[in-house]
């Protein structure tokens, strides 16, 4: 399909940016959660939690807004995917609730069993959320059974295939890497030493997953590469992605944690961009008949709504980005525990 820079394409990109924002921001706090149980001492765990304490709530809002924007811009995608993946989304909701509750409640009591219980819940929930998101992403690559009526015609178990689980594990690995870098940035002393070691291990874990996923995609889902054949220029994305990943150990080695973190952010953004370039202009590919696929055109809201929302986004997003950066700036530096801490 010809690439035209119209409102539908703009919204495809904007939702991509919102989801990338979510993956980058909630990605590190999910990653910190996934690594949580590797800390053994209570104080270490508290510091880890307080490293994400002031921001995890705001990070989750990117998911809420991304969901809202999907509802608004591509209601048919929202309706088909959310109703079709019913059980998966309900599981996601339950773990999201448990995770929020665990964060909020773990430090309210001194008792060891109380804290251990919430710690396990928090960590497992973080891993499951990342896994579910990855599996969902995997299904967007493989396509799902969507009928002529735009309704999902598959089952929950049909969503779980070796490939989608591989994408899920890759996502967990990616967030663990991202989270460990964040911890190195936010902590000091012994804890930082631990986190530093995890960065190396998680990078290896991630690269193995990433290479496997890429090979599987190239072999089994060659439709993802069509645009790259037609527009070789897109290879820059793949190149950027690899450079960003390769840059992380380098910066960590030079003790430039913030730059390592930025590299990690860039690699997440580049990964999602590769993925978006692969499926464009489809959003949900139908495995029944490619003509039934939900695209940025047949699943979209009216031009009027897309342009109204663009106005809202143009007015609102600069503020959002501005104060998000300001708040991160205010909370920069190493974590210290005080009275208001978790």
């Amino acid at each position: 399909m010809e690439f035209t820079f119209d409102l539908n394409t703009i919204w495809f990109i904007l939702i991509g940016i919102l989801l990338a924002g979510y993956a980058i921001l909630d990605g590190f706090d999910l990653g910190v959660g996934a690594l949580h149980l590797l800390f053994k001492k209570d104080e270490e765990r508290r510091i880890a939690i307080n490293a994400i304490g002031p921001v995890w709530d705001g990070n989750e809002v990117w998911l809420v807004t991304g969901g809202g924007a999907l509802f608004a811009a591509f209601p048919d995608v929202y309706a088909t995917v959310f109703s079709g993946f019913y059980t998966a989304f309900m599981l996601l909701l339950f773990v999201l609730i448990f995770r929020a509750v665990a964060l909020e409640f773990r430090s309210k009591q001194e008792a060891k069993w109380w804290r251990q219980m919430w710690d396990v819940l928090f960590s497992v929930a973080s891993i499951v959320i990342a896994l579910l998101m990855g599996v969902a992403l995997g299904n967007i690559v493989t396509g799902v059974p969507v009928g002529a009526d735009k309704e999902f015609a598959g089952s929950f178990l049909g969503l779980i295939t070796p490939y989608t689980v591989l994408v899920g594990i890759t996502t967990v690995a990616l967030f663990m890497m991202h989270g460990s870098i964040y911890l190195v940035m936010k902590t000091e002393g012994e804890i930082q030493q631990k986190a530093r070691g995890w960065v190396n291990n998680t990078i290896i874990f991630f690269v193995i997953c990433f290479v496997s996923t890429t090979m599987a995609t190239l072999v089994y889902f060659p439709h993802m590469t069509q645009h790259f054949k037609d527009t070789p220029f897109l290879f820059i994305l793949a190149l950027l992605n690899m450079l960003a990943i390769a840059n992380i150990p380098r910066e960590i080695h030079h003790k430039k944690e913030f730059k390592a973190f930025l590299s990690s952010c860039a690699s997440i953004a580049a990964l999602l961009a590769l993925f978006a370039a692969g499926i464009f202009p489809n959003i949900v590919i139908s495995t029944i008949n490619p003509d039934y696929s939900l695209t940025i055109y047949n699943a979209a809201s009216s031009q009027k709504t897309l342009s109204t929302m663009l106005t809202i986004a143009i007015i609102g997003m600069p503020f959002v980005i501005g104060y998000t950066i300001t708040i991160y700036w205010i909370f920069r530096g190493k974590v210290k525990l005080d009275k208001m801490s978790y």
């Binding site: 608004a72 309706a79 309900m90 909020e104 809201s301 009216s302 809202i312 909370f331």
Partner: protein, 456 residues
């Protein structure tokens, strides 16, 4: 049970549970602005102590509000896919605006409100408090606009036909300012202010009865009393405006609220009663003849549209709407009564002299909560059988691919998790109340510290 009833139970249950929390955040938000404003103005550490204590309570209600709020957004798609396809074009822009203008604002500045005491100057902190409070009200704006559009659709046209029909927006501002949105928004907001005010009144009265944290409690109670007086009286006004609007735009709902069956008769105002839907009459009730007509039209002799003038399959269940509405109104007047009494006694310097009144205050926290829930039941059940008034029926709005078994599974899990969440909420709130505010001498005043953002 079939998918429709299960999906409705699930949505009603999750939204009712969610709606315990945002009104508390909105109401407490206003009070935090008032308390911290007093602190900035007077530099009296008592106000700092108050702000810090109520911020903790605020953070608790906010966290549960966010966690249960994501559920609501997801459920539109998971359980009401056909509805989502139908309204996406209209409803979506309101939801997106809510995300961009309200959620980011609240959750971003919440970090400063809760964790930023030592990171920013007192004035900057105060500004964050104002922004969080405004943000929480913005989110009410957009969600009430979307809900009001479902009650009184405007600024749209219908494209395509049959099952693939959908509403598309033609005029954004007509959609935002649809006939019921302003009245309903003000009514919802004042209900939320009452929820926050009476939580503070209740906890403070409890402390006074137990003879603990007296300065803190008396001062908190007075500030909350001011908000309670204003909000309860304002609620009467917005309620009246809403009723006039309901008569104009959704006459079947008003008829159900007052169990008015006969279109040729003047509208009576029932004080209470039990509706016999079969015989179309109100039993065991006391009513004031013609008062409903007078309140709606300013003319006690003018007839009001009754339920007999609508097709049988387009009227809501009557008794549940009637009872919810009447109990809500009764609670509203009760809250006005104790607010006026409280302020009167405060004026006579006798506010804290009557133990029975303080005991009433302790339980008053339930009043706005129950009234808010009942108000929504009136609004939403009164809209039935429509999900979008006059355009789409609830029974046609479901997800086509979701089975009753799937909803049963999620409903049971929601019931278990929310029960558990509610117990935890009560437990933690109780812990905070038992612990009480930090005593002033242990708080180092922010003015003494004077830490600046860029100093570190």
């Amino acid at each position: 049970m079939d998918t429709e009833i299960l999906a409705r139970i699930q949505f009603a249950f999750t939204v009712a549970f969610h709606y315990i929390y945002p009104p508390l955040s909105i109401g407490l938000g206003i009070l935090l602005v008032m308390m911290e404003g007093m602190y900035i103005k007077t530099k009296n550490p008592l106000y700092e102590q108050m702000t810090k204590f109520w911020v903790k309570v605020f953070a608790l209600t906010f966290a549960i509000g966010v966690a249960t709020g994501i559920v609501m957004e997801f459920e539109f798609g998971t359980n009401w896919a056909t509805y989502s396809r139908f309204v996406g074009d209209v409803f979506g822009s309101a939801l997106a605006a809510e995300g961009i203008f309200a959620f980011f604002l609240e959750s971003g500045f919440l970090a400063l409100l809760v964790f930023g005491w030592d990171k920013v100057k007192p004035r900057t902190h105060f500004i964050s408090t104002i922004i969080v409070s405004l943000g929480s009200m913005f989110s009410a704006v957009w969600i009430v606009v979307a809900n009001s559009w479902q009650q009184t659709p405007a600024g749209y046209h219908i494209v395509r036909e049959g099952l693939s029909a959908r509403a598309e927006i033609t005029d954004f501002w007509a959609m935002v300012f649809n006939p019921s949105s302003v009245d309903r928004l003000l009514h919802v907001l004042s209900g939320a202010w009452l929820a926050g005010a009476f939580l503070v009144i209740s906890v403070s009265a409890f402390y006074i009865l137990k003879n603990r944290h007296l300065d803190f409690a008396k001062s908190s109670l007075r500030i909350a009393m001011l908000l309670a007086l204003f909000a309860s009286l304002f609620q009467l006004f917005t309620g009246h405006q809403s009723a006039i609007g309901v008569n104009e735009n959704q006459p079947a709902k008003l008829a159900a609220m007052e169990a008015h069956f006969d279109s040729s008769a003047v509208g009576d105002l029932h004080l209470f009663g039990w509706v016999d839907e079969k015989n179309k009459e109100v039993k065991l009730g006391v009513s004031i003849p013609g008062l409903l007509s007078y309140l709606v039209y300013g003319d006690a002799a003018k007839p009001i549209a009754g339920l007999n003038s609508f097709p049988k399959n387009e009227t809501p269940p009557v008794n549940i709407v009637f009872q919810s509405y009447h109990i809500m109104v009764a609670i509203g007047f009760f809250l006005i009564g104790i607010s006026v009494l409280g302020v009167f006694l405060w004026w006579r310097s006798k506010l804290f002299n009557h133990r029975w009144l303080l005991r009433v205050f302790v339980f008053s926290v339930l009043g706005p909560q129950i009234a808010n829930q009942l108000g929504w039941i009136t609004a939403e059940v009164g809209r039935q059988p429509w999900i979008v008034y006059g355009l789409l029926k609830t029974s046609d709005a479901l997800s086509k691919v979701v089975t009753a078994g799937q909803i049963m599974f999620s409903l049971i899990l929601f019931a278990v998790i929310y029960l558990f969440l509610f117990i935890l909420f009560i437990y933690l709130l109780n812990e905070k109340i038992k612990h009480g505010p930090e005593e002033p001498e242990t708080i180092v005043s922010e003015y003494e510290k004077q830490k600046f953002i860029f100093e570190k």
